[in-house]
């Protein structure tokens, strides 16, 4: 038993050990809220110009039943089959995600920004049999599908479930003005037709059958992440993981999450575990209205959302909060009904946090977690004692400690690897036993982050053990970027590190030893953008004489970082 000094800092009414949840699986959790809040609006999708469409809890429930029936009866999928989903925040997302789970299938969230090779890898690795994709991105499929076991492709419109005239105007603008509707050349089904087929085929008895044997230990989602090693792999998140984490997160927010009263802005993508658990599951569970924003770029896209809805909650990353604080329309009339904001994904800067409180007059708290932990591990208690710069205290039913290399717990104030145990920790990595064994030891998740705990039980991240770069909450693995740059003609050696950046937390910088003729910085960046998702491409390339290496030739990124740090301090003094 570890010591848990944080227990006394929970807000009143928080049970440090959650009772076993009443829900056997996610569909049960979804069903319960759908019944309780049936007539309430569950989701509203708001476009940058204010055009919007909405679905009630009852509609979401029914349509996701239809989709589940389609997957099982029409496509013929079986329990445990993987279904990949690739779309930005839109009304179809909850229907698809809930539908997959109701069918007893496994959700594979996929970043729409991925390039064809990245998509092919993830689809093939997960063994997905079906893909639900937004039509705007479907042009990459011809190169991808042949390398995967995907047999069914379902195309979704961004304007799905909008009032007909509005949907028509959006389609027209997409077709004629933004030209963002490529022709889909692969065989596919339209989402609306698919739902109609499911509706025709569904029956209540069959729906129960889809979930026989599905329980807390059944895999609900394969959430892809580089983990600590950088090779992309699927974290197996079970129904129990996600149900527990939803309830853990809600309990930390206490009275700030008022059932049936909240309006939350979901500007972060739902395919990411943070928004998935916190916004989609958490706020759905308490009967909130979720305002889905397809893209918060530029941040002025959120103007209409905040004007038209009495927003009470905002979840985001440091970058988003900072961006809003730099928008005049936001600081001049901050949302009046805001109750609280939650930050995750990357460190929330203390300056951003304090400005946010000053401008909005509401609390903002930082949490911490990993894809492998569904994701929330720690959270600053809302209404209790929050400490800026810390990641807060462990959520209920969760043990967190800092350990040394031998695995021994370190005393208060000493930095060591943060390890965690709790019902939200994943089952393991999909078909990667070796990597699972390295990350999960005796049930303890080894995060690779170096942290220390203070005497109150608050944790602070001091460093990352791994070399992973965190760009706006996206993991970038130097290995992957180095591999691409190494393929550019004229590159002899390359080392990639993250350097601090005001807006994105960190940015990718490459150090290159070039031969003659040397490649240009622009050509290297362009090559990376072609082969990697844009956020992975380096922001700058520095040409150097040599790159520090260990005796066995391993690039010493730590020394590269030290060089950058030294350079910036000398520049600062000059």
């Amino acid at each position: 038993m570890t010591t848990r000094p944080w227990l006394s800092h929970y807000s009143s009414g928080v049970d440090p050990d959650l009772a076993p949840p009443a829900f056997a699986h996610l569909p049960a959790l979804v069903k319960a809220s759908s019944a309780e809040y049936a007539k309430t609006i569950a989701f509203t999708q708001c476009m940058p110009n204010g055009m919007n469409g909405s679905l009630t809890y009852a509609q979401v429930d029914e349509l996701s039943d239809d989709f589940a029936a389609y997957l099982r009866e029409v496509v013929g999928l079986a329990q445990g089959d993987r279904v990949a989903v690739q779309m930005p925040n839109c009304l179809s997302y909850p229907i698809v995600a809930f539908g997959i789970m109701k069918a007893g299938c496994v959700l594979v969230n996929t970043n729409p920004l991925y390039t064809a090779p990245e998509m092919a890898y993830q689809f093939a690795d997960s063994g997905a049999k079906a893909l639900v994709v937004v039509d705007m991105f479907a042009n990459r499929l011809p190169d991808v599908l042949a390398k995967t076991s995907i047999e069914t492709v379902i195309a979704v419109k961004i304007s799905e479930f909008f009032p007909p005239v509005i949907a028509g105007v959006i389609r027209l603008v997409q077709k004629l003005w933004t030209r963002s509707l490529p022709k889909i050349t692969v065989e596919h089904e339209a989402f609306r037709k698919v739902l109609a087929q499911g509706r025709a085929a569904k029956s209540a008895n069959a729906a129960e059958g889809y979930l026989i044997g599905v329980g807390h230990d059944t895999v609900a989602a394969l959430q892809y992440t580089g983990g600590t090693t950088g090779v992309s792999k699927g974290a197996m998140l079970s129904h129990g993981n996600l149900v527990f984490n939803t309830l853990q997160m809600i309990s930390m927010c206490g009275v700030y999450m008022r059932p049936g009263k909240e309006i939350v802005v979901t500007a972060l993508p739902l395919y990411h575990i943070f928004a998935f658990t916190v916004n989609l599951l958490g706020f759905y569970h308490i009967g909130a209205r979720n305002i889905l924003v397809p893209t918060p770029r530029p941040p002025s896209n959120l103007k209409r959302v905040l004007e038209n809805y009495k927003v009470t909650w905002l979840s985001g990353v440091n970058t988003l909060f900072n961006a809003l604080l730099n928008e005049r329309w936001f600081t001049d009339s901050p949302p009046k009904h805001l109750v609280a904001s939650a930050a995750g994904g990357m460190a929330l800067h203390e300056s951003v946090a304090s400005r946010w409180r000053e401008v909005t007059g509401t609390p903002i708290v930082e949490g911490y977690g990993l894809t492998e932990s569904s994701p929330v591990l720690t959270f600053n208690p809302l209404g209790g004692m929050g400490k800026d710069g810390t990641i807060g205290i462990p959520v209920p039913s969760t043990e967190v400690r800092c350990v040394d290399d031998s695995g021994a717990t370190l005393p208060v104030g000493e930095a060591g690897e943060l390890v965690a145990r709790g019902p939200q920790v994943m089952l393991g990595y999909w078909q990667r036993e070796d990597e699972t064994a390295e990350t999960l030891k005796d049930g303890w998740l080894h995060t690779g982050d170096i942290a220390q705990m203070d005497s109150d039980g608050y944790f602070t991240i001091v460093d990352r053990k791994k070399d992973m770069i965190l760009v706006s909450g996206f993991n970038v693995y130097p290995n992957e970027v180095e591999e691409q740059i190494g393929a550019v003609a004229g590159v002899l050696e390359v080392g990639v590190i993250g350097v601090p950046d005001e807006r994105t937390g960190e940015k990718v910088r490459a150090f290159v030893v070039a031969s003659t003729p040397p490649p240009t910085e622009a050509s290297i960046i362009a090559y990376c953008k072609e082969h990697l998702a844009a956020y992975k491409a380096p922001q700058s390339v520095t040409f150097v004489e040599d790159i520090p290496k260990s005796p066995i030739g391993k690039i010493l990124r730590r020394e590269l970082r030290a060089q950058v740090l030294a350079d910036s301090t000398t520049k600062g003094q000059a």
Partner: protein, 322 residues
């Protein structure tokens, strides 16, 4: 000695019906209405509160509108038009001075919209200058009119017409705002349609007006063109430099510039038509307002492309989140 071509010009019968037909007048009113409705659908009361809380844009707008524009018109008349024979120059100059003295035009809102400028500031500036015009337009007209036309009779400024225009301008804006409050969807469609039809009608008016008035255009001396084009072009640049000089936010400086340079052409035309209905030189008085209205569309379009690039470049770039 009067050069031969000018004698021909003065003898050319410039029919007021040719310069602006009643159909075009009606279309212009409809156009203004549709555009203002669409603009209103894009605004919230909050936007107006913000503009009032930061009144520098309004103050500088007032100064440029009633200080710089009439002065610019006056200088252009003295520098260029008055080199021409007085029989031709005087009535044309009257149109030019009026063009410089009217308030800001509603089309400035459209260009601000397309240039991604501060639309609320633009609308509130238009409203502000239109309200002030009831007082200021007569004052500046009399002030400069005494110098330019020492012998001619004073003009009657039709206050009633200006008030009507003001109401015309505000009603659809309020209507748009109300609709948008109750349905963001309809509001957004109105906003799109307003912009679309606004653009369509402007292009339509230009495409039909130019060929019909080809003779008039080719007979008009270059000095008249300098005044008609220069009023808008120099107005935009002077206001921009001034706004930047007092360190207005660059986006607001661009908004003030477009707002200042773009005058209410239709209002000037309407004032001329109603006030000088039986005047023998009516056709000549109409020339500058008509030419100005034509060229300001071209000038403002070019400026808008430039401003839009600048405004977009200043938009916050944030990376993909998560």
């Amino acid at each position: 000695m009067i050069p031969a071509p000018l004698i021909t010009l003065m003898q050319t019968e410039v029919s007021p019906q040719d310069v602006v037909t009643p159909f075009e007048q009606n279309l212009m009113v409809g156009l203004v209405f549709v555009i203002m409705f669409g603009l209103g659908a894009g605004l919230t009361p909050r936007d107006f509160r913000l503009a009032i809380r930061r009144p520098w844009g309004l103050i500088i707008g007032w100064v440029t509108q009633f200080g710089i524009m009439p002065l610019l018109a006056f200088l252009l008349v003295i520098g260029f038009l008055y080199q021409l024979p007085r029989e031709y120059a005087a009535p044309v100059a009257l149109g030019a001075l009026l063009m410089g003295s009217v308030p800001a035009g509603t089309t400035s809102n459209i260009f601000t919209y397309f240039s991604k400028g501060n639309l609320a500031l633009s609308v509130i500036m238009t409203t502000n200058s239109t309200l002030w015009a009831i007082l200021m337009t007569p004052i500046v007209l009399v002030l400069y009119g005494r110098v330019l036309f020492p012998d001619e009779n004073e003009f009657q400024i039709p206050i009633f017409n200006i008030v009507v225009t003001l109401v015309l301008l505000l009603l659809p804006v309020i209507g748009g705002m109300i609709i948008r409050r109750y349905s963001a969807n309809i509001g957004a469609v109105m906003e799109l349609l307003g912009g679309f039809f606004g653009l369509f009608f402007i292009v339509f008016l230009m495409a039909t007006w130019v060929p019909r008035n080809w003779v008039l255009l080719s007979d008009t001396p270059w000095q008249t063109y300098v005044v008609a084009i220069g009023l808008g072009l120099f107005g935009i640049f002077i206001a921009y430099l001034l706004a930047r000089a007092i360190r207005l936010h660059p986006m607001n400086a661009r908004t003030v510039a477009l707002e200042t340079g773009i005058q209410n052409g239709p209002l000037a035309l309407a004032i001329v038509l109603l006030t000088f209905e039986d005047h023998p030189d009516l056709g000549l008085i109409l020339i500058i307002p008509a030419l100005y209205s034509l060229f300001i569309v071209i000038v403002a379009t070019l400026v808008t492309f430039w401003f839009r690039r600048a405004n977009v470049a200043e938009e916050q770039k944030i990376p993909n989140l998560l």
